[in-house]
């Protein structure tokens, strides 16, 4: 079989040919079969991944924050300033507290809804900025003003009592 095909040098079969006794035609054929099978496998994996999302959403729904959490004393944060704090629950979630105006406070999750960069309050612009891809959020509502973030920043309700700042889960009545 090899002699027939190597009619250029009929006297000797090249070493590579005896080492790889597979026809080129067969190689590409096998390659495409394997590729098709791989695509089938990939398809199954993607369906599985979609299933995991469903299971995760059903079995482990996002727990609301329980109770009130002390953040800091109200006089520690001047008007227009930002204060970073954390709340430890099932995982540690970083938040920012913004003293927008006299007696106006806001608290948001610090993780950008795009790729979870840390956002910060820009006093000069009056907006929350994500420095990673120049996303901007409203400092008042957390709505996306500009840039790639797909969702508004999750918000907490701020309660001032006896000169101390507390946060708690926002009541869900004013959601869109």
């Amino acid at each position: 079989m090899a002699k027939k095909s190597s009619h250029d040098h009929p006297e000797k079969m090249p070493t590579w040919k005896s080492d790889f006794p597979i026809k080129e035609e067969q190689v590409t054929h096998v390659g495409r079969r394997e590729f098709a099978k791989f695509l089938g496998l990939l398809s199954g994996t993607l369906a599985l991944g979609n299933g995991v999302i469903v299971i995760k959403a059903l079995a482990f729904p996002a727990k609301p924050l329980e109770g009130e959490h002390f953040v800091c004393n109200a006089d520690e944060v001047a008007v227009g300033e930002m204060f970073q704090f954390e709340i430890a629950g099932s995982k540690v979630i970083p938040y920012i507290l913004i003293h927008l105006e006299e007696n106006v406070w806001r608290a948001f999750e610090q993780k950008c809804t795009h790729l979870t960069c840390a956002v910060r309050y820009r006093k000069d612009l009056g907006k929350i900025e994500c420095p990673c891809h120049h996303g901007f959020f409203s400092a008042d509502t957390g709505e996306v003003l500009q840039g790639p973030p797909p969702r508004p920043l999750p918000r907490l309700e701020v309660v001032i009592r006896d000169g101390k700042v507390y946060v708690r889960e926002e009541k869900q009545d004013q959601t869109v």
Binding site: Q26, N50, V54, A62
Partner: protein, 86 residues
């Protein structure tokens, strides 16, 4: 000795190629739609839209079934068929 399969193959020597291309294109299409579903499900599930996640999961599952079913129609490996002929 000639049988139906062999005369078919001789009459249309490119048949395997066309078939293979068609299967691969279809599979890529399915996988593409599934990636789209998964992306949408991730984005939406984060917003608490469980209904979207369930719908895309069903769609994705059906597409996976279709992909696996398509694999049945892969042409035989050449080695095996040439072995049979001899």
């Amino acid at each position: 000795m000639s049988d139906f399969r062999r005369s078919q193959n001789e009459a249309h020597p490119n048949k395997t190629n066309t078939l293979m291309t068609a299967i691969i294109v279809l599979l890529i299409l399915f996988v593409g739609i599934q990636i789209w579903f998964l992306f949408g499900a991730l984005n939406n599930a984060l917003q608490g839209n469980i209904y979207f996640a369930v719908t895309t999961f069903i769609g994705s599952f059906l597409l996976a079934l279709a992909s696996l079913w398509l694999l049945r129609y892969l042409p035989d490996p050449l080695k095996k068929s040439s072995g049979k002929k001899k």
